[in-house]
Amino acid sequence: MKTIFNALKIVFIIRIYQRISIISFAVFLLLYLMTLPASYTGGYSSFDALHYLNPTLIGFSVLMAGLAALLMSLIIYLIKQGQKSSKSSAAGGIVIGLLAPMLCCSPILPIAIGIIASLIPALGGTFGVHLQGFIATHQIEIFITASLLLLFALYQNAKKVIDGIRCHI
């Protein structure tokens, strides 16, 4: 945690990175608020989905949007400094957080599995149902995993920001 705070202190001295974080937070928050309730709308993300928000979904939206916004600043800072950033776990966190509610109860998964099963028969049967049922009944655990991945990505990038400063010295 100390590593993350120290890295953010370094990055946020420059005003542009504060702005990047604020704008990213607004964009990601809107995206999460519209996407996380997609499990209640058959995978359909729109402003109508806001109607299905509950305190848990709002909490995860704020948490994941906050982590993603801080990450954006660190990643852009590292790229500007000419250093390699860690984007894989960040992308993993964002994708898991956004994809799970869309797949939960929508027709996407049964149709996709149907197509795959026509190519690989062993994947047919109840494979799709089990996956969809699992997503539907473990949504909170999936959101926690996505948040932890974002936090891990934040830590990895924060370490690189601090290491970069050390290199300059």
Binding site: G42, Y44, I108
Partner: protein
């Protein structure tokens, strides 16, 4: 290049749910005659043929699915409309709950839409294996069929809470 690829991937993810609604959920080309499959309601065997002469909404869902929870809540809000139009609503749990465990139908209804049981034209139960084979081969967790008085399926869709207008138009006779 990598950040650009990531952005394109995220944009595709945002477009993806919209494409879900362009999928054809119907097992056959519309309109088609509803197969006479059976179901169980209150420990008795019933057949869809019993409801010929009535407009019917046949809804198959699994009790672990979130749209189904939102769907029954939305249907309960329109209770007065269903009473007025007289459309028969047959809400059935998919055979074997669609292949994934979940609560039984009475528990589900009592938890999320207890007032619907007071409606005479609201029927709940369990779909037979044949019904699921005939109408829900792809194992959608939430799918409904709007059937006219002659037994022809006029529309197939999912998530009644989102597609409520289609159901209301059909029930009030303004859909065709």
């Amino acid at each position: 290049m990598k950040p650009i690829k990531s952005i394109i991937f995220l944009l595709l993810l945002m477009v993806q749910p919209l494409t879900a609604w362009s999928f054809n959920l119907s097992p056959q080309k519309l309109p088609f005659a509803i197969p006479d499959a059976g179901f169980t309601s209150q420990s008795k065997q019933h057949s869809l043929a019993e409801y010929k002469g009535h407009k019917v909404m046949l809804w198959l869902f699994s009790t672990w699915c979130h749209t189904c929870v939102a769907g029954v809540k939305a249907m309960q809000k329109k209770q007065a409309v269903w009473k007025k139009t007289g459309m028969v609503i047959i809400a059935l749990r998919n055979f074997n709950n669609g292949g994934y465990p979940g609560v039984d139908m009475p528990t589900f209804m009592q938890r999320f839409a207890p007032r619907l049981k007071n409606l005479d034209n609201w029927i709940t139960g369990e779909a037979s294996k044949r019904m699921n084979q005939d109408l829900n081969q792809k194992k959608f967790p939430d799918i409904y069929f709007l059937i006219d008085e002659k037994g022809w399926v006029r529309a197939v869709n999912t998530a009644p809470n989102i597609s409520m207008n289609l159901i209301l138009k059909f029930a009030s006779g303004t859909s065709q």
